[in-house]
Symmetry: C2
Subunit: 581 residues, 2 copies
């Protein structure tokens, strides 16, 4: 028998109860079949502490009860929906006892009921699920039109040696013991994007398909919540074969006509558990003497560009911004941010660039900024800081009988730009997009309250090498969007005469590899030196990195495109001792 | 038989392996007895992600092995130490398999070994222990000189209905079943300070003492790690009686000569489990029609003042600062910060105040700032921003053919002060102390990159009402440290003509109660209105609160003195919908 399975890759913001209701109403009014929705579809994800707060609990319980009432009076039909959602267990006074991350079955004419509870609760990096949820126990084999589906929620498929328990193995054991004929495994997910994850997901799903000897149905959501973006890309695989594939970074509903195959239970492949730490170590490779970060393919660049533009637009929409503001410097980072923003623009949105030269800014910087904005039809404002800079200097000399130079002088220029940028933002209501990259953030090469300002950071998860790759990709995609002269210049903060980043740092290729070693591989000083880096450069990078924690602590949210990023999932003491590196 | 029990309330920074070793060497060289040290004494706490990073793992394992080797060659003696520490289980390749939060027994001539593993892992608010640790199983009854001690680590004594399991109940069950004669319960803790916690700890310990019918020995550490401060205050209680009490916010070692009493096992008092959420709801009381935040006693003020000064000094020491810089405005918040900093100063430290009047600053503000600094012998620098302010305005008018006023103009003044403050900080190497209070932070009444700047915030966990109470307390303690004129003025940002906070906000007494209702009690709009607040004021506060999440996300670390504070333990989406309040 054939079964209609609908994969609904939805896009709702947190607690968008009206929108969720409308989606359900539409789905049940149209098509008969089994409708699959992502993890936490009924509430949104990730809600963090909201889930334990009375206003949210009350509103969600009301919403759930309304969906239930509505289902009860719908005409009975063959249609069913499986939706992720929260299941609260409150005591008689309304106090929270337990909260579960579950799959609800929605039945027209009957109502809704939870039928499966998530068992593996991710509690690493950005995930805090053990803070909120009680894990489930036991497998669910869901029956629909004579077919049997094993149910999983997101992390349930990602067992690691750090977990005490493997839901997939438990399901397989029960299948064998009770001789259950399972027709497919369904996983409802809300799985954040990272540049390496699509491949990992597919591989893992293929592996599980082989293990269970059935197709594996994977639904993922779309959306951006602060720093985290969800890329969708739902699919059905059978063994190595992809039977159905949905888009990335766009909502989509797709019908798949499912025909169960005659399964045979040959000995299943054992899935090797990952150590969860290994999720965080994807990006170093060693082809020559020294490790380098993995070179992005064109496809990687495409995914990252899509992800960054999507994350930017999600943040802007949710915060109510229709205008964007980027401070151009004539360097590559700000040019790439401007290009990405320009490419992401939707109808009715505006973009403005602002160029704030100081006495140290080269004429070439001015020319390149003008060229880029002229070529791309972006309004550019000039706001020289020379006079303000000297006014601050004079004020100090007057009040303190002592002027300043060196780092203090550099920071004044950077902070004046931050001030002017935000003044313009206040004046026009535009959202300021930060332009720092991950290499700079890691070594503290940014000025607090200066070039580190912004509502959101687009490049804060890209090493400088990756900034180059992405810029070259964009220029291939939209020829000339970034003037070649900007790509070809050496990086400089232009805060003093003839300043170049390479004066005080290892070349970016080496720097980025050392940083990835520290951040993702958690390598020690000795390990890095054993990899071939000089003790001088390793010590310098470790010193700069450990001393700049306080800057990262006050940095703006960064669109996350890696498994290990600065931001919410990066938790280290600010006062961490350097001595044990 | 009498037993010497030494309570060592230690003060070591994270991973201070040399200092820890020196403390152990001193202790074992001097006194014979049972030496008790806090939770995680051997490594420091909280280490966050450092505990899963290779540099830390390697350094800690080396340290542990050195302590073990050193113990082995010490002459045998009757002395023992029980110390908190980490126990790593690595696989053959050195990959982390499990990590446990344990108590080590240190035996001269023998070595060290883990004898108990923490069972309740706090995973709420600032705590992430389920992210790192595998929980223990089973009770430990430790034998020393013929006496028996039941062992606990910190959270093990704080069961709540959210936990699945109660270690104290499990211990009591085993005691009864096996008819064990237990002479005392020992809890090694690293328990953060909050203004209500001393009372709660004592009450809980008394309750457990009654339940077990034995004395309860409680060791806590001293220290400040970023936003969290640990206040010590170790004690021994028996029933309602305190047998031994150590200081707060100071390291101390104390001998207690322990004599077991003849225990009788009358039916033990059942300890009522707390819902962990109830830990976060301590500060509203209702004596009149409307709830108000709980009025601080003189003792509360003393504890908070001690805590803030301690937290400031800890941060400064660990970050290497010897100079402090406070921007005085003539208002109460900055005056209180200056007073606290002045009172906290140690030998060799310097403090400077800076006053940056704008065109809207009253003459009274100047006079009060001058009086305060003169009276307290604090150098005061004047740095008027009038000219810079008009220069920014002119620059804008020139470049954009359009000036600015209103909020934009207010923000420019605030950001200019931020810039000048940090320029002075760069020039002198002084640490900038933030002056915002919790009421302002909660409603977003601060300018991002303006008055919100700072290395650390002293008042970010104090509502405006509490700022008044603490100022009055300090003035009682050190008469005239804050000019009475500053306390008596109405709060104003002085960013426009005749501006007063009360123009746009409910009176602080009502505002603070509404905020505490939202933040700690997690009350909904309807609940607040039912408490007697007007829907107008509730809606206004909720709107301001939900819209200012982005400012708090980039705020500096706040010395935590409440069970619910902004900062690391406050986790909400920035784009949270207002609709469900």
């Amino acid at each position: 028998m054939k079964t209609n399975i609908y994969l609904h890759q939805t896009h709702h913001t947190l607690a968008d109860f009206e929108g969720i209701f409308a989606t359900l109403a539409l789905v049940f009014s149209q098509n008969t079949g089994l409708h699959l929705f992502p993890e936490s579809f009924l509430c949104g994800y990730p809600l963090a502490d909201l889930v334990i707060q009375r206003p949210f609990i009350d509103a969600y319980q009301k919403h759930l009860s309304e969906v239930d009432q509505w289902l009860k009076v719908l005409p009975k039909s063959e249609s069913r929906a499986l939706c992720g959602g929260l299941s609260y267990q409150l005591d008689e006074t309304g106090e929270l006892q337990h909260l579960r991350n579950v799959i609800y079955e929605l039945t027209p004419g009957v109502g809704l009921k939870p039928i499966y509870t998530k068992r593996l609760l991710p509690n690493y990096d950005i995930f805090d699920e053990k803070k909120y949820f009680t894990p489930g126990e036991g497998n669910t084999f869901y029956q629909y039109q004579g077919q049997t589906f094993g149910l999983l929620i997101c992390e349930d498929m990602w067992v690691s040696s750090f977990h005490q328990f493997d839901p997939c193995q438990s399901m397989l054991d029960e299948i064998k013991e009770r001789q259950i004929k399972v027709d497919a495994i369904i996983n409802l997910s809300a799985s954040p994007f990272d540049v390496n994850k699509r491949h990992k997901r597919l591989q893992k799903a293929q592996n599980l398909s082989k293990m269970f000897q059935t197709p594996f149905i994977y639904i993922n959501r779309i959306g951006g919540e602060d720093e985290v973006i969800f890329d969708g890309g739902s699919f059905i695989v059978d063994n190595e074969k992809t039977l159905c594939q949905l888009q990335h970074f766009a909502a989509e509903s797709k019908l798949f006509v499912f025909e169960p195959k005659q399964n045979h239970y040959a000995e299943a492949n054992r899935v090797t558990p990952n150590i969860w730490e290994s999720f965080f170590a994807p990006d170093l490779e060693k082809k020559s003497a020294l490790p380098t970060i993995r070179k992005w393919t064109e496809e990687d660049c495409q995914h990252v560009a899509q992800g960054l533009m999507f994350g930017l637009q999600e943040y802007a929409t949710k915060s109510g911004f229709k205008k964007f503001l980027v401070a151009l410097s004539g360097g590559l980072d700000s040019a790439l941010v401007l290009a990405l923003t320009k490419l992401s623009l939707k109808g009715g949105q505006e973009l403005e660039a602002i160029y704030m030269p100081s006495i140290h800014s080269a004429t070439l910087s001015t020319e390149l900024c003008e060229k880029m904005c002229r070529d791309n039809d972006i309004p550019l404002k000039h706001l020289p800081i020379k006079f303000l800079h000297s006014t601050v200097k004079n004020t100090f000399t007057q009040s303190f009988k002592e002027s300043f130079e060196g780092l203090t002088d550099e920071n004044v220029q950077s902070r004046l730009r931050g001030l002017l940028l935000y003044t313009r933002s206040n004046q026009t209501g535009a959202m300021v997009i930060n332009t720092s990259n991950k290499s700079e953030l890691a070594v503290g090469y940014s000025t607090q309250y200066g070039d580190s300002v912004g509502a959101i950071s687009l490049l804060g998860d890209l090493y400088k090498s990756e900034v180059y790759w992405l810029a070259q990709y964009l220029n291939k995609l939209s020829p000339g969007i970034i003037p070649q002269g900007i790509i070809d210049r050496g990086p400089s903060a232009e805060l003093r005469e003839n300043q170049l980043d390479s004066d005080s740092l290892p070349p970016y290729e080496r720097l980025d590899a050392i940083l990835e070693g520290i951040l993702s591989y958690k390598m020690s000083r000795i390990q890095l030196i054993n990899e071939g880096f000089t003790s001088n450069e390793v010590d310098k990078v470790i010193r700069l990195y450990t001393r700049s924690e306080y800057k990262r602590a006050q940095f703006c949210p960064i669109v996350k495109i890696k498994s290990k990023s600065f931001g919410f999932g990066y938790r280290v003491p600010m006062s961490k001792a350097i001595s044990f590196y």
